[in-house]
């Protein structure tokens, strides 16, 4: 499959993902069945990457979140209850468009958006709950583990927005 280029818009009601397949049934199910409702209810915001022929080839969904400490009421002396973050809740590329830097381009877009957001509202980290098979992708781009990976089924990785200007 050749890709001349692509562009990004927000998820539209008219979007058809019946031919989209990223190899993960959960992610395919999410974009087809859950993302529209999350969008309209403003629980997650989904962006869709399309070819110049308007074929959806990838998407990412982002939410505001916080990395929280597990509550232990008798020991809750910490002033900071949670660390505000921009969470990449979903990021998926259609199998036919792998190896064309689509995922990388969308990740960089997320980092840019998160940094710009952090200039207006408390936001310290970009985080992602990564599928085990995607951990290497995020580590390659400088993300780090929030906790020992064996503790989490989907390891949460982070990038510190204060580590660059």
């Amino acid at each position: 499959m050749k890709l001349k280029g692509f562009y990004v818009t927000e998820l539209r009601e008219s979007d058809d993902f019946s031919d989209f397949s990223c190899g993960d049934g959960d992610l395919d199910d999410f974009i087809r069945n859950d993302a529209p409702r999350y969008q309209s209810d403003q629980y997650a915001f989904t962006y869709v990457a399309r070819t110049y022929e308007h074929v959806p080839i990838a998407f990412y969904s982002v939410v505001m979140d916080g990395v929280q400490k597990k509550r232990i009421p008798e020991k809750d002396e910490l002033e900071i209850p949670s660390i505000p973050c921009y969470k990449i809740a979903r990021l998926a590329v259609d199998e036919d468009y792998r190896g064309m830097d689509v995922g990388e381009t969308l990740l960089f877009d997320c980092i840019y958006q998160a940094k710009e957001l952090s200039k207006q509202v408390g936001c310290r980290l970009v985080v992602v709950d990564s599928k085990p098979e995607s951990v290497e992708f995020y580590l390659k781009y400088g993300f780090e583990y929030t906790a020992k990976p064996e503790k989490q089924k989907y390891p949460t990785l982070y990038l510190d927005l204060l580590s660059f200007e």
Binding site: Y38, K69, F108, Y141, T146, S163
Partner: protein, 48 residues
């Protein structure tokens, strides 16, 4: 239905360790590079 988007909750030790790391942010040239590429691409990439 796909698994819901969940909040990240860390145990006390992991959370404290993360906070200590964040007290002294280290410059990350790779992150800087990613941000610059994202910035340069953003307007070209996004359409209404």
């Amino acid at each position: 239905m796909a698994h819901p988007i969940e909040s990240t909750v860390l145990g006390e030790r992991d959370f404290s360790r993360l906070l200590r790391k964040l007290e002294k942010p280290k410059l990350n040239p790779l992150a800087q590079e990613m941000y610059e590429k994202g910035r340069l691409n953003h307007d070209r990439l996004h359409r209404d």
